[in-house]
Amino acid sequence: MESLSNRKKVVSNKKMSFVESLYLPAIVGGMWITIKHMFKKHNTLKYPEQQRVFAPVYRGMHVLKRDEQGRENCTACGLCAVACPAEAITMVAAERQKGEENLYREEKYAESYEINMLRCIFCGLCEEACPKEAIFLTDRIVPTNFDRDEFVYGKDRLVEQLDNRIDITVRQNTGKRGEK
């Protein structure tokens, strides 16, 4: 068949030279390559003992951010649930009562907020959809578990703890996101 692209090049050479047909040279060559690796340092991450640093933009377990004053950012607008292709997010909105200003930033807040981690595909669309910078994916991984019900993460496990803040500034700044 004539060339369609004018860039055709046959790359597969099936003719064996005499030396190649003797088996042994290639075998010895291959064994030489493998034995060289024997004296190289291994490349294994001994996982439970050693941990790899993930990329700052890694899409791992979610966090519901609080602002500097420790108030929850989420306003329960439901955009994340709509944006979720796996339909893994459910929430119940509630009105902020008087005296709760130190807890919730907006007038509305999520009374309950659940992510089904077994459904979640960690695509990051909820993070993008959130207009309030409330939900972020982090570089932590979701632990495994024995029980399917355990994977429905409520606010107790999603909202960041005040004494254990999760820094996502690197994530926000990597790739200069938002600079237009």
């Binding site: 369609l4 790359v11 597969s12 099936k14 309030k132």
Partner: protein
Amino acid sequence: MNEWLDDDIKPGNNLSKETIDGDIATLNLGPTHPATHGIFQNILKVDGERILSSEQTVGYIHRAFEKIAEHRPYNQITPLTDRLNYCSSPINNMGWHMTVEKLIQAEIPKKVDYMRVIIMELARIADHLICNSVIGVDTGALTGFTYVFQQREKIYELFEEVCGARLTTNVGRIGGFERDFSPTFHKKLKDFLKEFPKVFNEFDNLLSRNRIFMDRTINAGPISAERALEYSFSGPNLRAAGVDYDVRVMNPYSSYQDFDFIVPVGTQGDTYDRFQVRQEEIRQSLSIIKQALDAMPEGKYFADVPEFYLPPKEDVYNKMEALIYHFKIVMGETPVPVGEVYHSVEGGNGEVGFYLISDGGRAPFRLQFRRPCFIYYQAYPEMITGQSISDAVLTLSSMNVIAGELDA
């Protein structure tokens, strides 16, 4: 041709009933067979080790992509395309983005094109590495597999640096990228470009001129160019048969016309050809990445399509217009032109096409994926007829049939 086979039984020859004499056994290759790992089923009729006929069953991981696509807004379809050919998800992602961009007639900055080229070629390398190293594993040489998988791991780290995921990348957005390449990415990419050729050559030396490997792969599962075209082969499998059809060259997208690369072809379309074509394509991809990196233009990493590309978070918080666009995009309420568009990209396994019919609604009215695996896998019985079981296994792995793409 295998010397122990009779001359009259060769692939492509349709066996008459009379040929099939006495000692026929039925062998069930799959679904739980190492070579098919749960997805394919081939019911083989064998005479000794010689395959007389084969009947395939597919659909074991049918996930109804096309149906889901009719129920999801455009931006939520990107994660779906990830899972088509999961070995090279970014190519599918970007193919989809380009399809939508074609529909909305967005103007894409050159920089986005070049970034896409880099990511797509990395994905192609990862895809071909898996395929070729698995050919190695199926011939029994496991070590090459572990060498190149360390490099593939590096590619995944690169993806992780760009988008935050390794395999199902969901990289890019309609209109561009969600963020620019970070300095870490550039550094890692440079390291990769320096280190990869060495390891890759080691892998090549381990297998490609080894007589045992050549004997195993040459003439295993061949298909002629004419038959391959009849079967609508595309990608490396078609090129192995000698037809230099490459979407990147024929219908350049994403500025592929700017890059200089050759289209490697084989001669007989057998396993060895497929292996070598993929090997050379990896080298070409490397060269394309280098060219793209050197000629990377300055500019924005997204197109000016406010109806589809999410505004930055600060603007959403501060500007009314941005907030409205944000809600509209997320809810999928931006107006989409009505129309039909077909766009194809050169995926890891061939022409990945997106046939999109839009009725202006939130979700596509119809989205059909042209899945190269699905199309060429039907030639498998013809390719292995008259071959031995070992050849059948090798042919399967060298065709690189990805179940996600096969069953959709």
